[in-house]
Amino acid sequence: MATITLKLNNKSHTIDADPKMPLLWAIRDLVGLTGTKYGCGIAQCGACTVHLEGKPVRSCSIPVSVAANKNVTTIEGLSSDNSDVVQRAWILEQVPQCGYCQSGQIMAASALLKSKPNPSDTDIDMAMQGHICRCGTYPRIRKAIKRAAQLMTQK
């Protein structure tokens, strides 16, 4: 066990954890933020995606010690009032069905739009292919990413 400082959504949390514990479980069980989801635990589904220093990562496959003292953003940190452009687009296109995969989808889309403000279909395929949606919201995810790109130009 080790004392670890996690910087989650600009807030510091000191936790006592097995350094090998995946970041996912530290965020969910030790800090208590549950927006980041468990889907597979082996980097196959993307449900657990968070930003580590701005880059999308699979929190199920990163030991919490690696994230210590670095900036981690979860879905809760994107905005809690849905003012973020990706969240707005997701609402406009009515993407979620069950909603379980959507935190991960949104975090991936948000990272994509930061690096490519006007992504092509191929860019979207590349960035989103690691994210499973069992409800099959893919057509709407694609539309919402394009919608968000549009919204960004209007700002």
Binding site: M1, D18, M21, P22, W25, R28, D29, L30, G32, L33, T34, G35, T36, K37, Y38, G39, C40, G41, I42, Q44, C45, T74, I75, E76, L78, S79, S80, D81, N82, Q87, W90, I91, Q94, V95, P96, Q97, C98, G99, Y100, C101, Q102, S103, I106, I124, D125, M128, Q129, G130, H131, I132, C133, R134, C135, G136, T137, Y138, P139, R140, I141, R142
Partner: protein, 731 residues
């Protein structure tokens, strides 16, 4: 499901909603005879023999509260139920507060969210409830103004006097209205006048599903709650002989290791639970656990053996379900006839949210929280097993991260209750993805043998299907194994039974220790592949266009759907090669399938083509849904998109296989899912008619696969009769 007590008492409504007696509260239900739908006032509800199973309440602020009696697992009942009430009550959606109904002794009729039944099972009740309340509020206002009720109307939560423009808010009217008797009859709105129903209004649960605030089962926490994972027998019915937990207990955070049971179709399945202060510690502890299993009492099958048995079984005499004429004789004498066998795989539900459940057992009561499709079943099951009256078993539904049939089952809450009872603390049982994918129950694998005859005039002369697979109803101890499966025809259009002179449907169930369970659209999800592929084969034999071939057997409602499908997919132009480059017809294929289940009819056309290197790809899917009366077209569209993509996965990506009595596919690395780049364009159309409401969440799944394989036949001449297949492997 039938239970003795189907009513929801007024007291309990008040308890759930927190509303006091000052509000105007109206209930609806059926009289003891079960025949007449009756609206009752709250004050008289307890003295009548009406079993109330839905309530609405309006408080002095004009705020409307209703209880949603179904789970929300993505299909949109969170949205469609208030949309129905708002329409007839004449309020806006944001005036409605919706409360989830817990399955805790308060009955709403069957609460199991399955069979796509949320709307079709309750809409007439909910519309009438809203209309009655509106009617009474208008009466109260008219009386107060001394005018005729017919000179007033309701809109946006207010009653308005047409001539003077005077207005009263519903909140100002509730006290007096609560004294009125509800009308015996009330006229419902004409669908042409709908303002809220049939509009693609945004879902109210979307905002909390894009910022992490929606609480799913796995997100639910109680103070002092511990986390458990369970090592269950890797073979389906293994018993724990002994276990060694010495290493497990050394993992920091591990608190308890104990043997547990899980109630699977009334059979007790055994496991060993590791309970810890966090999920990860429990998972680590479990890895170090050594369990000896006794699994000698049942066969350790491989998939090959299961299918070999089923192929044998379809050759024998089935337990007959629905027959007409004499298919055997007709087939024997016929000239134009064919025979084909189709096979579909076992599948895992693999909801994105793995199974989980929180339980807290105290001296007074048992409380359960989780992603639950069937709260009343769970209440009944737990109340029975733990010998507690039903009102002391509280089952609470969180949001569900997918359900698809798996979360209607009672095993996972049972296990959580057992652990909490033993350790005397609240506990969350977490199924890892591997648990979720390998323990089952699964969609049963099936083999279909079809025999058909085409008449001189190019019609279906005879249609026979023999089915083998595990019958989901036969798993409970003492089940009658000679009973036919009434789902043998699920997916087949009802209209064919009026026009095919000889038909026969029956099944020869397979006996196997693999647990099986409903999977989105249930038997139709596999039946349709056989029925609709075989119809296509018959159409080819009859040398008829697949749409025309079907059309000649069907009545008006089906014909309208076929016309629509033909028009939107530009089917005729394709068939005549109109407007296509000279060599294009060789490079595109169109296929169709039309199925019926849960009272809805869905037709789908799939277009496939070969790309530059000769690989087959799906270009587009057109879907036409006839679900009769409907509420929200955008939710229907979303459900159709989702159903098609789920079907695409089962057709071309994944299957569960068994080796030595164990499920082989354990996670998404081997159970491959369709991804964003695999998704074709999907165009959805909804038929407008006045038919009764049908299901929406499932019926669009069955037709996709046969429409796809029929399209591949059209393109390549290759008939696919076994699922799953790889698109890449088609030359």
């Amino acid at each position: 499901m039938e239970t003795a007590d189907k009513s929801l008492s007024r007291r309990n409504f008040i308890k759930i909603t927190g509303l006091t007696g000052t509000a105007f509260t109206l209930g609806i239900g059926f009289s003891a005879s079960g025949k007449d739908m009756t609206v009752v006032r709250a004050v008289t509800a307890e003295t009548t023999n009406v079993e109330v199973n839905a309530w609405i309440s309006i408080d002095t602020q004009g705020k409307v509260t209703i209880i949603n009696h179904r789970s929300e697992m993505g299909q949109g009942s969170f949205q469609s139920v208030p949309q129905m009430i708002a329409e007839e009550l004449e309020v806006s959606l944001d005036q409605i507060n919706i409360v989830f109904a817990p399955g805790n002794g308060r009955r709403y009729g069957s609460q199991v969210t399955g069979g796509s039944s949320t709307i079709r099972g309750s809409y007439q009740k909910l519309l009438r409830l809203g209309a009655s309340a509106r009617h009474m509020l208008v009466d109260t206002a008219a009386k107060r103004w001394g005018v005729k009720a017919s000179d007033c109307y309701a809109e946006n939560g207010e009653v308005i006097h047409r001539a003077s423009g005077k207005k009263l808010n519903y909140g100002e009217l509730v006290t007096e209205t609560a004294q009125l008797e509800p009308p015996k009859e009330v006229a419902l709105k004409n669908p042409q006048d709908y303002k809220i129903i049939r509009k693609p209004l945004p879902r109210q649960d979307t905002p909390i599903k894009v910022n992490g605030k929606a609480i799913f089962g796995l997100d639910f926490k109680l103070p002092g709650m511990l986390y458990a994972v369970v090592e269950r027998s890797p073979r389906f019915q293994g018993k724990v002989v002994k276990f060694d937990d010495a290493e497990t207990r050394k993992v920091p955070g591990v608190k308890f290791v104990l043997k547990v049971n899980r109630d699977e179709f009334d059979n007790m399945r055994e496991g060993v639970a590791v309970v810890a202060t966090n999920t990860w510690a429990a998972i680590q502890g479990r890895k170090l656990l050594k369990v000896d299993w006794d699994d000698r009492a049942f066969p350790h099958h491989n998939s090959d053996e299961l299918y070999a048995k089923m192929r044998e079984l379809v050759k024998g005499d089935p337990i007959s379900f629905r027959t007409m004429g004499n298919t055997a004789k007709t087939f024997a004498k016929a000239e134009k006839k064919i025979e084909a066998t189709y096979e579909t795989p076992y599948e895992s539900h693999s909801c994105m949210e793995p199974l989980n459940c929180v339980a807290n057992v105290t001296d007074e009561k048992i409380e359960v929280w989780g992603p639950i499709q069937g709260p009343d079943w769970i209440q009944q099951n737990i109340s029975g097993h733990f010998k507690l009256p039903p009102e002391k078993v509280h089952v609470n539904m969180t949001f569900l991260g997918g359900g698809f049939g798996r979360k209607a089952f009672t095993d996972y809450p049972y296990e959580a209750v057992m652990i909490s009872k033993e350790i005397k603390a609240p506990v969350q049982v977490v199924w890892t993805r591997e648990d979720d994918m390998t323990i089952g129950p699964f969609r049963p694998g099936m083999v279909y043998q079809c025999k058909g005859v085409v008449t001189e005039g190019g019609r279906i002369g005879s249609f026979e299907t023999k089915i083998s697979g595990q019958n989901m109803d036969l798993q409970n101890p003492g089940a009658d194994k000679s009973a036919y499966n009434s789902s043998d025809t699920e997916g087949f259009l009802e209209g064919y039974f009026n026009s095919i002179p000889h038909y026969s449907f029956g099944d020869s169930p397979l006996d196997s220790p693999v647990p099986v369970m409903w999977w989105r659209s249930v038997y139709a999800s596999t039946n349709a592949f056989a029925f609709e592929s075989f119809l296509d084969e018959l159409a080819v034999m009859a040398e008829k266009d697949p749409l025309d071939f079907r059309r000649q057997h069907l009545g008006e409602r089906y014909q309208l759907l076929i016309d629509k499908l033909e028009a939107v997919s530009n089917w005729k132009a394709h068939k005549k090669n109109e407007g296509l480059p000279a060599d294009a017809s060789a490079k595109v294929g169109y296929g169709v399938a039309i199925t019926e289940c849960f009272s809805s009819i869905v037709g789908e056309v799939v277009k496939v083509s070969k790309d530059a290197i000769g690989k087959v790809k799906i270009d587009k899917v057109w879907a036409v849904m006839d679900c009769g009366w409907y509420v929200n077209p955008d939710i229907i569209k979303a459900q159709i998109e989702g159903s098609i993509i789920m079907a695409l996965g089962a057709a071309t990506k994944h299957e569960t296989t068994f080796k030595d009595g164990k499920a082989v596919e354990r996670n998404f690395d081997s159970y491959k899912m369709p991804r964003i780049q695999d998704t074709p364009e999907i165009e959805v159309h909804i038929m407008d008619n006045e038919e009764k409401a049908g299901g929406v969440g499932e019926p669009a799944l069955p037709p996709f696969t046969p429409a796809l394989t029929n399209a591949i036949f059209d393109l390549t001449g290759k008939r696919i009769r076994k699922l799953p297949f790889s698109l890449d492997a088609i030359a």
